[in-house]
């Protein structure tokens, strides 16, 4: 890690700690029932962890996350590569990708429920929908940013389309692809929660709705914190893969 990054990290820790202290104070002053002290949220979190509530909910959530994000990553990169390389494919799909990337996708979840029924498949589909487009767009941008002279160089040595993909376009686009996957992973966690909240049946999202509806505010915050941690971990995991793959930067 470069010194600048670690310095930034230290500032970040200070900022988060500051916020937590203020929150704790406000909670102790009993400003509102919606701001319980952090210490009580932590206790609730510990209890939910102990009695298995979080583990059950999170394992269901993680399965949906994997089921949705895996295909989104594979297909997203494939579609992005094709769109970046072939103008016809790009012209064909550009409008759709742009429209769906900026659309409020939560509005489509009822359509998915109509399609799949109230099942955890809907959650996986929502995860897919949330993460797919940002992966496509980043991959496409990466491919299109490939230096033209690299392509010409490979062609002079006799590279055909397959060799160009494998040896030039894919490695050239890799940093952008990894960024897309990172953003996609965060989007995927969002999709997971949205899907689970809307079907209200399984996972962390269901717990959010339940605790929210029953005004168990500390438990609600404990689950929110768990979701945040999950999103961070997902992003960190992709970042670690990025560092392992893109060593030359």
């Amino acid at each position: 890690m470069t010194p600048r990054e670690s310095e930034f990290g230290r500032t970040g820790v200070v900022a988060v700690l500051g916020l937590l202290i203020v929150w704790e104070l406000l909670g102790r002053l009993d400003v509102s029932m919606f701001v319980p002290p952090i210490s009580r949220i932590a206790a609730a979190w510990w209890q939910l962890l102990g009695n298995g509530t979080l583990a059950t909910a999170a394992s269901s959530s993680l399965v949906s996350l994997a089921k949705g994000f895996g295909p989104a990553a594979v297909l997203g990169v494939a579609v992005g590569l094709a769109m970046g390389r072939f103008r016809t494919v790009r012209h064909l799909l550009d409008g759709w990708v742009n429209a769906l990337m900026s659309a409020p996708l939560s509005a489509l979840v009822p359509v998915l429920i109509a399609l799949f029924g109230i099942r955890d498949t809907v959650v996986a589909a929502t995860v897919f929908m949330f993460s797919f487009f940002v992966i496509v767009v980043n991959t496409m941008t990466g491919v299109r940013g490939t230096e033209r002279s690299l392509v010409e160089m490979a062609r002079v040595f006799g590279a055909g389309e397959v060799a160009l993909f494998r040896r030039i376009y894919l490695p050239a686009a890799l940093p952008a692809i990894m960024l897309g996957l990172r953003l996609g992973a965060v989007q995927a966690v969002k999709g997971m929660v949205v899907g689970e909240m809307l079907i209200s049946l399984v996972g962390l999202g269901e717990r959010l709705i339940y605790y929210g509806n029953t005004f168990l505010i500390t438990e609600l915050y404990a689950v929110i914190v768990s979701v945040l941690v999950l999103a961070l971990l997902a992003s960190q995991a992709v970042q670690a893969a990025d560092r392992a793959l893109v060593r030359w930067k």
Partner: protein, 255 residues
């Protein structure tokens, strides 16, 4: 190591190329003899890089035909290597892997590839830098990698697109001399695109001056300077100055 193949001639016969409404090249006739060193010079926009890409088979000609050795150019061929102005190195690959790139594409086995690449890296004076990444090297060194990669596949024709344009003057002179030395050892047909009049004269047997919009062969100048030039003070001679001035007088009228 495969023996160095005999150099082959290049002939452009009535070659034209347009990009949309812009006529880049019109009715170009050029012959480069086997083993000859030819410089292409002209005002910017005269299509000299386009002509180089046509010879390399990277672009199709609209009219006319180009022959490299016995082959009529219809795409990239095994005879030609290209050295690019911006080096065109893979930033994600080491020097060794960059130099191996062309060999790998042509299906050479890994062990022989590694050996051939190391030899080429030695030729351009970069031994010891095999495991460095391009970003760790200076511009001059990066272009040496580009040259090593071009030479590694043992081409009969070396096409160079302003290879020294982004390299500082001192480094450039040393590099030019190294290139001349390699050329005298390996005898390849070389086409050098340049915008430097001194470089065009210093390096070449003949200088082709292109006129702009559309690019045509305006004049062909012989460079009767003795070789080897890299170990003498050719640049300090009156003859050299006279030849450079000759190129300048032509170019000035073309601007």
């Amino acid at each position: 190591m495969t023996p160095t193949l005999a150099p082959v001639p290049i002939t452009a016969d009535g070659v034209s190329k347009a990009f949309g409404a812009v006529q880049a090249l019109a009715d170009i006739h050029v012959h480069v003899g086997a083993g000859e060193f030819l410089s292409l010079i002209g005002p910017s926009g005269c299509g000299k890089t386009t002509l180089l890409k046509l010879i390399a088979g990277l672009l199709p000609a609209d009219a006319g035909r180009i022959r490299v050795g016995g082959r009529t150019v219809a795409g990239p061929g095994r005879e030609c290597s290209v050295v690019f102005q911006d080096f065109a190195l893979l930033p994600w690959a080491t020097v060794q892997k960059n130099v191996e790139f062309g060999l790998a594409l042509r299906g050479m086995a890994a062990a022989e590839r590694a050996r051939t690449a190391r030899l080429a890296i030695g030729k351009v004076g970069l031994s010891g830098f095999e495991d460095a990444y391009p970003s760790q090297l200076s511009g001059g060194m990066q272009q040496r990698v580009g040259l090593a990669r071009a030479l590694a596949v043992n081409p009969q024709v070396l096409l160079m697109d302003e290879p020294f344009a982004s390299i500082d003057e001192q480094t450039r002179r040393l590099f030019q001399d190294d290139l001349l030395r390699l050329w005298s050892e390996e005898r390849k047909t070389v086409v050098l695109v340049t915008h430097s009049m001194e470089e065009a004269v210093y390096m070449a047997d003949r200088v082709v001056v292109l006129s702009p919009r559309p690019g045509r062969v305006h004049e062909v100048l012989d460079v009767p300077l003795p070789r080897p030039r890299e170990s003498s003070d050719v640049r300090a001679t009156a003859e050299f100055a006279r030849l450079v001035d000759g190129v300048w007088k032509i170019l000035r009228k073309l601007q």
